[in-house]
């Protein structure tokens, strides 16, 4: 495991255990990361059960589990299967997708703030979705399609504009910021052009919400995640090499530019798919990988832990959003925005002190 000396003093470098099978396969296991991952998975599951049980028709966690296992009443079956389970599953996948996308972006830009939020991917998806809402009055599926298209085009544009004999982290970030500013102008234009009904729908979409998500949102998202998540996880090793800088990675046998293109493409598509399902939920992509890294204390992208962290974060945020104000159910994006904003300020201060941004 590569450990940069300034990040972890020699005394704190832990031994990483390896599991070897008689067949010659060996897997490295970092005990702390394994425990942290397990805890995060349990946390996400617990949050999911609580979230399914809360609402106008309340159920105890025991009832929820029983219903999930097929032992519920007809009413409980209906509430769980048709209303709340798809919403929770969408939240799980959206959280995991945003977090993994964020981890890839942050590693490639080598900057904790280089998340898709900052690079204009969310704004690109928003422009795509709003175009469908405002100009074509399209339905939910068309809006989702517009979001994926918008996000993908934005990602491509940022990459091409930042390209200059290779793409370097800080130019990518700044290019993203510039593109985001242009796209924000387009968003504002679309909102002023809309009538009040469309404008309200647009602002609601822009805030990011899980309200009314059903199985039709879940299956496309699952398909995208099933293809993209394993692909990204498979590239975890070269991604870790990239964090040491292009030259070092190249010397270690990584095809730097190709790895970068594959990973960025997958990450953009993953984030765009998540955004299409739930709107541009801010700060999950930024904070989940950072929190996962702090929890596991292991260097590198921490893709698995990030995914679990993202899923848990989004579920908890959704629970908070629906239960904080009784009459007004806030969309989940408001909670992640407020909490994420505070977290971001803290991150800016600490990371600056550590000299990492």
């Amino acid at each position: 495991m590569t450990v940069t000396p300034e990040r972890l003093p020699a005394a704190r470098v832990r031994t990483v255990k390896a599991i070897r099978t008689p067949g010659g396969l060996s897997v490295r296991v970092d005990p702390r990361a394994a425990v942290a991952g397990l805890l995060l998975a349990l946390l996400a599951l617990a949050a999911a059960v609580v979230l399914i049980g809360s609402g106008d028709y309340t159920m105890t966690p025991g009832e929820v589990l029983a219903t999930l296992l097929g032992d519920g009443t007809a009413m409980q079956e209906f509430v769980v299967q048709d209303l709340r389970l798809p919403r929770v599953l969408v939240a799980l996948l959206v959280g995991a997708g945003l977090a993994v996308g964020g981890a890839v972006f942050q590693t490639i830009t080598r900057n904790p703030l280089g998340s898709p939020d900052m690079l204009g991917i969310g704004q690109g998806s928003t422009v795509g979705a709003l175009t469908v809402i405002v100009l074509f009055q399209g339905g939910a599926t068309a809006v989702a399609g517009g979001a994926v298209l918008g996000g993908t085009l934005t990602g491509t544009a940022v990459y091409l504009l930042a390209w200059k004999r290779g793409v370097h982290g800080f130019r990518l970030v700044l290019t993203g910021i510039g593109i985001a500013a242009i796209l924000t102008a387009c968003i504002h234009y679309l909102i002023t052009k809309a009538n009040l009904v469309d404008a309200t729908r647009a602002v609601l979409w822009m805030t990011g919400s899980l309200d009314g998500r059903d199985w039709s949102h879940f299956w496309p998202l699952l398909t995208a995640s099933a293809v993209l998540l394993p692909l990204i996880l498979a590239y975890g090793r070269p991604l870790r090499m990239l964090e040491m800088g292009d030259d070092a990675a190249h010397a270690l046998g990584v095809r730097v530019e190709r790895v970068r293109v594959v990973l960025l493409t997958s990450a953009v598509l993953l984030v765009a798919a998540a955004t299409a399902a739930a709107g541009p939920i801010v700060f999950v992509a930024l904070s989940a990988p950072q929190l996962a890294r702090r929890l596991t204390r292991s260097p590198g992208p921490n893709l698995g832990a990030s995914a679990l962290m993202g899923a848990a974060l989004l579920l908890i945020a959704d629970w908070a959003a629906t239960n904080t104000f009784d009459e007004r159910r806030l969309p989940v994006g408001v909670v992640t925005g407020v909490v994420g904003g505070a977290y971001l300020l803290w991150l800016l201060v600490t990371e600056r002190r550590a000299g990492r941004i």
Binding site: A181, V334, G337
Partner: protein, 350 residues
Amino acid sequence: MLIDSPPEQSAEPSAAEQPRKRHSVRAAGLVAALAVLLVVCAASIVVGAKPVPLGDVWHGLFQNSGTGTDVLIADVRVPRTLLGLLAGVALGLSGAVMQALTRNPLAEPGLMGVNAGAAAAVVTATGFLGVTSLTGYVWFAFAGAAAVSVLVYVLGGGRSATPVRLALAGTAATAALYGYVNAVQLLDAAALDRLRFWTVGSLAGAELATVRQVAPFLAVGVVLALLVARPLNAMEMGDDTARALGAHLNRTRVLAMLSVTLLCGGATAACGPIVFVGLMVPYLVRAVTGPDMRWILPYAAVLSPVLLLVSDIVGRVVARPSELQVGIVTALIGGPVFLHLVRRKRMAQL
């Protein structure tokens, strides 16, 4: 005068005469820029959704007799042009001061979240406190602009900030604040309807009363900006040299930030957040005038309203019969300029 050189009589320009020559070129350029500004102001009064013959414009300006055209000119086009003029001066100067203060070519009030801070404060005032008049919420705009500009400046690392760090801090603050702005609009549909036009940045609907209300703030901001020009010049050479040259570092920083806050907060309160004007104009001006703030400031003050008014005119014309808000036009022009800046060979600090 840049350098007090003794008058010399020689056929070829001597080394001492070079600065003087450049000096007069720059002065001539400034006069030309002023002339352009006058033309643009005139165009802003004449061009619009409803074309007005020149004779009628004259009539409306000086002998307002209450006809439809006269009212259009006196109560719609003239206030709009005046507001564009003031806001342009304010945005250009605040951008120039901020870039010098942070020694960072990407420092721009809009990019650093100052506009977003003002916007968030105004949204709070209108959404929760029921403040609807400009006189009421201009104070909120100032408070928001001041708080966020200081916050981003500190978070970005003050004078040791790299362009990336500062831009990131500003973007982060902007993202968080606009999240809040969206949330407020979502909870209150009436606020959304009122604010969705304001949050874009627009000169449409300007009134003379608005101009009168923000003018004093902007005037103080302009005076402060001019006052700090010389110490900012000294500070370009680094803190130690500046101190040796007799500049008061902290006083200069406080005055400069105050000036940026007044200028940017006032402009934002009056027209909504308008981005990139404060980035583009000082950057282009610097290429012409060199690094002397005593030239950059007047140039920026003249050319920024040119950009803003031209953007406004373009916005009126391209989307007839409706309009494209000026904030959208400046972002669409300014974004590519920003990208060009980023793509340059070296992101040199000032």
